[in-house]
């Protein structure tokens, strides 16, 4: 900075320059310190006095190291002499360039009270002096440093949090102006090593998604790219090392004014441990429920068997005794008479056991209520959710809206539908998971009744033998009782409907049953 003045006496000029220099010094926001080649302070401006808490007169002749004890981290508490030698200044001193030779260096400043602060230092060499003299400009950057430190800390904490939660986040820029951002832990969640070339998050994910979840995943991806606002989806991925992981993926898309998606932020949460724990708990539950059913059925079956076995044993034994008596030629007419009488009485007794059993089954209290057919399916979907998910089956509802109501025992009808769903699940265990789908449908049939359908993609059935399925004790399942369809049909018939089945045109089986529709007024008036 050179001020151009014309015809001014040398002395006046010097004085004026001195005043101007002083004014500049006093007005400066930064601290200014002048020091000689030994580092001895020759001047400290007002800002410097304020910054360091010294009076200028106190520091003149002292070494500049008093104010700037050294670079960050070099100064240790209680280490005497640390600021006697300001070695870090020697590069400035030795450098011979006649201009600002150091800029933006960060140092530790020390106030009179011993407290420290982050200082940024620029040093300039004063021209034309020998030995050389220097001007230092010092700025307190504590606030900026603290902000940077806080940012670093919050990034570190986020990283730790992601690590603990096993969660990674990403940012995808749809306009292609920036590369996708991967949080450090996202690599871990997706089983990818750091380094390696850049790869878009979705392009990478596409290589991992489990084949059975791919269709669903691709659908979500397409929706997001078409401008869907958000998604929340769980699916499976296979890491490059072959391990199977469950992830919970949440994403939020920001769209531009034209509605086109600009950017998407999302998190991928590895929930494998949770899912495994859930699965285990569910399996345990299923097993308990299964054993519960088995033991009840088993006890009942054992009871019935015993009840029927008694008269059968008596009949067989009486008949055999008679044979022996006749063979021995020792027939006492009275004995044979009693035996024959007992044989017929015991045969009737066995019949009575069976009659009682049937009336026991039939006389269960039935509670008929007015029900929405679609609501029945929705309830079943809720009830079957666990079972369905556990067996990798999708359950789809195709309800017809605004159907008339039915009058039925909700529990019984749900049992019928659940039983059919259960059969469908069993029938599809042999096929690929991606194809396992059950459709639950309601519609109005040509008689004006409500028709329910449960359709699967399983092994299908032999249409010429469908009636056999409804016989008691007919089963194709190991461990099956063969009673499910037979009981289901009895329930539906008791409701005035019918139950039948047929092949599913696309493969698999379809089971149908009907319930009479209530007249519209009955449904609405309750």
């Amino acid at each position: 900075m050179t001020l151009l003045r014309v015809a001014e006496p040398q002395e006046e000029r010097t004085e004026r320059l001195e005043r101007e220099f002083q004014a500049v010094l006093d007005a400066a926001v930064d601290a200014v310190v002048l020091f000689d080649h030994d580092g001895r302070i020759e001047l400290l401006n007002h800002a410097g006095e304020r910054m360091f808490g010294y009076n200028e007169q106190e520091v003149i002749g002292l070494k500049v190291g008093l104010l700037l004890p050294g670079p960050f981290g070099s100064h240790k508490e209680g280490e005497e002499g640390a600021h006697d030698e300001a070695d870090y200044l020697s590069p400035y001193i030795e450098a011979s360039e006649p201009r600002i030779i150091g800029m933006g260096r960060e140092l530790l400043g020390m106030r009179r009270d011993g407290s420290e602060f982050y200082a940024e230092l620029a040093v300039g060499r004063v021209q034309g002096t020998d030995p050389p003299r220097f001007a230092g400009f010092i700025r307190d950057v504590t606030v900026r440093r603290n902000a940077e430190e806080a940012l670093r800390r919050s990034e570190a904490q986020l990283s730790i949090a992601q690590e603990i939660a096993n969660l990674g986040n990403y940012v995808v820029h749809f306009d292609g102006r920036f590369e996708d951002y991967w949080s450090p832990h996202l690599y871990r969640v997706l089983g990818r090593r750091h380094g390696g070339g850049y790869m878009g998050v979705y392009d990478y994910l596409a290589t991992l998604v489990h084949p059975a979840d791919r269709v669903r995943w691709q659908q979500v991806r397409d929706e997001l790219e078409a401008g869907a606002r958000s998604t929340d989806i769980e699916y499976r991925i296979v890491h490059p090392d072959g391990s199977l992981r469950y992830v919970h993926h949440i994403a939020q898309t920001t769209c531009g004014a034209d509605g086109r998606p600009l950017r998407q932020v999302g998190t991928l949460h590895d929930i494998t441990d949770r899912r495994l724990a859930e699965d285990e708990a569910r399996q345990m539950q299923d097993r308990i429920a299964h054993f519960g059913r088995l033991s009840t059925m088993g006890e009942m079956a054992a009871g019935i068997a015993h009840e029927v076995n008694q008269p059968l044993t008596a009949i067989a034994t009486y008949a055999q005794a008679c044979q022996r008596l006749i063979a021995n030629g020792a027939v006492a007419e009275e004995d044979v008479g009693v035996a024959l009488e007992q044989i017929s009485a015991q045969a009737l007794r066995a019949g009575e056991v069976i009659r009682r059993l049937r009336s026991f089954v039939k006389n269960r209290e039935v509670r008929r209520e007015v029900l929405d057919p679609n609501r029945l399916l929705e309830d079943v979907r809720t009830l079957a959710q666990t079972d369905v998910r556990h067996h990798g089956v999708r359950l789809r509802l195709e309800t017809t809206l605004q159907l008339p109501s039915v009058q039925a025992d909700a529990v019984q009808i749900q049992q019928v539908i659940l039983n059919l769903v259960r059969n469908s699940i069993d029938a599809m265990q042999a096929i690929a998971e991606a194809q396992r789908e059950i459709v639950l449908r309601t519609q109005l049939d040509s008689d004006g009744d409500i028709e329910f359908m449960v359709a699967d993609r399983g092994a299908g059935l032999d249409e010429t033998r469908t009636e056999e399925f409804f016989n008691p004790f007919f089963t194709t399942k190991p461990g099956g009782t063969g009673l499910g369809l037979s009981i289901s049909r009895s329930i539906v018939r008791a409701h005035g409907g019918k139950l039948w089945c047929g092949a599913n045109p696309g493969g698999g089986a379809r089971f149908f049953f009907t319930l009479p529709a209530l007249p519209a007024s009955a449904g609405s008036s309750r």
Binding site: T313, T317, D335, A339, Q342
Partner: protein
């Protein structure tokens, strides 16, 4: 003197809560010439049965009140040696296993072939017979032992431990001649045909 051995004809004791099954079994077993007594419950049987009566017990495993297994346990507690054949239903295999572990000789599922039951009953009767013979013999030996004097008993104990007369004489401070007399008396009272026979009898009654 033979006590505690009842030589009456073996009886088949049937315990079943179901009157029809009970009566049918009775008729069947009578048709093959067996003596039969029937009881409608375990308690009824316990009240009526005298332990020395030979035969076998045909027992329904499922009964209200005292079950077949409980009756078997009560009989075991009383050291009753009557062989037990259980009649079981279709789903009673675990119970049958338990019964066999508790010493039942056999079990048969109902309904059953008459011949199967009759064969099992005959086997059980044979077993009861040999059990009782062994028991009778042990009782006889015990009675014979009771007829020995204390001195003879001392000599017997040393003899069965394999001591020579000379050693026994020194141990009991008797003359060898006296030991020989005691020993001859022991052999006679115990009806032992040889030293080996004597040792076997003593071991048998422990």
């Amino acid at each position: 003197m033979r006590s505690n051995v009842n030589n009456s004809r073996p009886t088949i004791f049937i315990v079943d809560d179901d009157a029809a099954v009970r009566d049918a079994l009775k008729l069947l077993l009578r048709s093959v010439g067996q003596a039969v007594e029937t009881f409608g419950s375990g308690q009824e049987f316990l009240d009526a049965y005298a332990e020395d009566r030979p035969g076998c017990l045909v027992l329904d495993i499922r009964m209200p009140g005292m079950s077949g297994l409980e009756l078997q346990e009560r009989l075991n507690e009383k050291h009753c040696i009557l062989p037990v054949i259980f009649i079981t239903g279709h789903g009673d295999v675990p119970m049958a296993v338990e019964a066999m572990q508790a010493g039942a000789v056999d079990f048969i599922q109902k309904p059953f072939r008459d011949q199967d039951l009759i064969d099992r009953i005959n086997q059980a009767l044979e077993k009861d017979n040999s059990n009782r013979a062994a028991l009778g013999e042990r009782n006889d030996i015990r009675h014979r032992l009771e007829t020995l004097t204390p001195r003879e008993r001392e000599v017997l104990d040393l003899v069965v431990h394999g001591r020579a007369n000379k050693v026994i004489a020194a141990d009991l401070k008797l003359s060898q001649r006296t030991v020989e007399i005691h020993r001859a008396r022991v052999m006679e009272k115990m009806q032992a045909s040889s030293l080996a026979h004597l040792v076997r009898m003593v071991l048998e009654v422990g």
